[in-house]
């Protein structure tokens, strides 16, 4: 399936979402295939239950925004931060719209839709908020954001904070994850899920973003597709590589059979 792709040498700014930036960081080859060759990556199954939790949390933040008081989750964690009231907030929270910034040096438009934004009413500093919902037995240690896959969460928050700043908001050094962990217990199912909620601060690092945009631009301009990742870090690459090697060996065997009549 074709998707929008970059045209080398074009003067028209090219939009990269924060998830595409993450794809670039994870696998240059896959990024190139998608953004330069226009081949869409395999789709993930929609996580409808997770999305529903996001919607419910969003709604509850909207109530707090209306009253301009900290959301209960933030109160519980002693953060005196209220959901931001801003004329653009709805756009910034909307998928495929979101926050945008045209980075002129690379001529790329960086884009990302936040779940929410909270503000310290005294300092006016703003922090991006992202909701994450899941079920894990190790919920307590998520607050350390130490697992390898947490790096993409950190990058996400850093990009949001960068975008907020570029959209002329005063930003805090911290952004937040609202982590909703469904509880598993032995009681009889009563059609409800209970969640343990953590508000996890992360001190963002935005220094890497602009150099990364320049690297992305450089890659988009190149004519050569990056090689398969050397390790097995990219599932797509590994899958394609193994499939290709299987197909190649079958072709070789078929050719051999056609030439010699011998089959393995």
């Amino acid at each position: 399936m074709a998707v929008r792709k970059y045209k080398p040498g074009s003067d028209k700014p090219y939009t990269v979402s924060r998830s595409r930036v993450q794809l670039f960081l994870d696998c240059k080859r896959c990024f190139y295939i998608q953004n330069r060759l226009g081949v869409k990556m395999p789709k993930m199954l929609p996580f409808k239950l997770n999305s529903l939790v996001d919607i419910k949390v969003k709604q509850s933040f909207d109530f707090a925004r209306e009253k301009q008081e900290p959301h209960q989750y933030f109160k519980d964690n002693k953060y005196n931060l209220v959901p931001l009231k801003h004329e653009m907030i709805e756009t910034w929270r909307e998928n495929f719209q979101g926050l945008k910034y045209h980075h002129k040096e690379s001529n790329l438009i960086l884009q990302g839709a936040i779940d929410d934004c909270v503000q310290d009413l005294e300092t006016k500093e703003c922090s991006a908020v992202d909701y994450k919902s899941t079920q894990t037995e190790n919920g307590d240690k998520v607050k350390y954001l130490g697992a390898p896959w947490h790096q993409s969460w950190k990058n996400q928050l850093s990009i949001y904070q960068y975008l907020l700043e570029k959209n002329e908001l005063k930003i805090s050094k911290n952004a937040f994850i609202v982590f909703c962990n469904a509880q598993l217990d032995d009681t009889e199912w009563d059609n409800k899920l209970n969640f343990d909620i953590q508000v996890i601060p992360y001190e963002v690092d935005i220094d890497w973003i602009e150099p990364t945009l320049l690297k992305i631009k450089e890659l988009l301009e190149t004519k050569h597709i990056p090689s398969y990742s050397e390790d097995t870090a990219c599932d797509n690459c590994r899958n394609i590589k193994e499939n290709n090697s299987l197909i190649n060996s079958l072709i070789e065997k078929s050719l051999k059979y056609l030439k010699t009549g011998e089959a393995d």
Partner: protein, 473 residues
């Protein structure tokens, strides 16, 4: 990934038979921001004679030995819990490969916590700053100031580095200060020699190191001996047939000088210095850099890239020669293993006992920590391996008063340790005799220092009281 910085202060340096007394664990993110800090202290076990040398370095008082908040067993459980909470992470520190990791594994092993490879499994990796600061200093003198020792070599003692660089975290040789000083040092390496820092992280797990070696084939490594870090440009040959280490050829030696030798000639030639065979232990966080680094240093710079690659090619073209090296190393390892046939203490069988623990033993270990004394006693004889029953009895003996234990178990263990501690031989553990011998030496050393003599007297009284409990067992 986050970093878990940790350091132990112990009753002595024998990893199998000494015990930890103090430990600190500091969790930071990858930018060294401290997320958690834990300091743990425990009492000296009733069956361990401390080394005076270790206590004088640690400055651990008799009061702490007797009244620290945790027993040793509680310390281990607490430590294990925090490491689990902080996983996955790089488990790192200063000389952790040589000491703290080995100590920790044995803490888990002897206290029936079966995941004694906790720090290098389930996404965890082991990183050690000591070898990397040595190389960083070799490649960039400005990375950190060092004191020079009597022979004019850089001192890499953490206390010396902290002092001369004004790290200002407090007195060295307390575990928390050593952790904070190590973090400070890591910041320097990362800031001044980012390439070394990055390379140090890429070999923090055996699997990653193997992948890197297989990819590079010809690369620079560093070894530290005779108080200096030295660079080698190596060609990977094969994994050691017994120990599985990466066996490499040092390309400053031309293979053609060895190719024509017969088998016994090759055996002799391989043993002569400078040895052409270099070993890279994949699980010891070796620093592996591209060959370009080594090609900037003598004699590789004089040999030049083309000649280096020619030599590597020559090795590839002579598989029979490489196989001969493999056979020689295998024979040498076998004869060494035949030679090392002394019986081992249970405490020494962490590696010798194999990595597979029977599932039933694992389950019983888990239960052991959950049940009361009666439950624990019922599990003692259920372990299929004798060493685990032994460790269970050790824990009971160390954790419970005599009155609460069955007489048979108490007497068996009390006599066992009495025999050990009252031995007059040179043993693998500290005995009363070795303690008093060391005490005499220290008294002579500090005869002018009244405060030190008082401290020594305190240790003496402590051990004398301990001895009374064992002398007539």
């Amino acid at each position: 990934m986050n970093f878990v910085w940790f350091d132990y202060e112990s009753s002595g340096s024998r990893v199998n038979t000494d015990q930890v007394l103090e430990g600190s664990i500091v969790l930071t993110d990858d930018r060294f921001k401290i997320l958690e800090k834990k300091e743990l202290r425990c009492r000296l076990k009733n069956n361990i004679v401390p080394s005076i040398g270790a206590l004088l370095v640690n400055n651990i008082s008799v009061e702490t030995l007797q009244n620290a908040p945790l027993s040793h067993y509680q310390f281990v459980l607490e430590n294990h819990k925090w490491f689990e909470n902080f996983s996955p992470a790089y488990f790192t520190g200063y000389n952790v490969q040589g000491f703290d990791i080995e100590f920790y594994r044995r803490m888990l092993f002897k206290n029936l916590l079966p995941n004694w490879y906790q720090t290098n499994t389930n996404g965890n990796k082991i990183h050690d700053l000591l070898p990397h600061i040595r190389v960083a200093k070799l490649l960039n003198r400005n990375v950190v100031a060092t004191k020079l020792n009597a022979k004019g070599n850089d001192s890499f003692r953490l206390a010396d580095i902290a002092e001369i660089n004004n790290f200002n975290h407090g007195d060295a040789h307390t575990s928390i200060v050593d952790c904070l000083n190590t973090i400070e040092l890591a910041k320097r390496i990362k800031d001044v020699t980012p390439d070394i820092w990055q390379a140090s992280l890429t070999t923090a797990h055996k699997r990653d190191t193997e992948a890197l070696i297989n990819k590079e084939k010809v690369f620079s490594t560093y070894e530290y001996f005779y108080s200096r870090a030295r660079c080698f440009v190596n060609k990977y040959l094969f994994n050691h047939p017994v120990y599985n280490w990466a066996i490499c050829w040092d390309l400053k030696q031309h293979p053609k000088d060895y190719l024509e030798l017969d088998y016994s000639g090759l055996v002799n030639a391989l043993q002569k210095a400078p040895k052409p065979i270099r070993t890279v232990k994949q699980n010891k966080n070796p620093l592996i850099l591209s060959k370009d680094y080594g090609l900037k240093t003598e004699p590789y710079s004089e040999i030049g890239l083309n000649e280096i690659m020619e030599r590597a090619k020559l090795l590839d073209e002579n598989p029979k020669f490489v196989n001969s090296i493999n056979s020689i190393l295998e024979e040498q390892a076998q004869s060494k293993q035949d030679f090392d046939q002394n019986p081992l203490l249970h405490e020494e069988t962490l590696y010798a006992g194999g990595i597979n623990i029977p599932q039933s033993d694992k389950l019983n270990m888990k239960k052991f920590h959950e049940v009361d004394l009666k439950g624990k006693l019922s599990l003692v004889e259920k372990f299929t391996q004798e060493r685990f029953s032994y460790f269970a009895k050790c824990i009971l003996y160390e954790e419970y008063p005599k009155e609460e234990l069955p007489e048979t178990i108490y007497n068996e263990m009390h006599r066992h340790f009495a025999k050990r501690l009252t031995s007059l031989n040179n043993e693998k553990w500290e005995t009363f005799a070795s303690f008093y011998n060391e005490l005499d030496n220290q008294r002579k050393k500090f005869e002018e220092d009244e405060s030190k003599l008082q401290i020594l007297e305190g240790y003496n009284n402590y051990v004398e009281n301990m001895e009374k409990r064992f002398i007539n067992a």
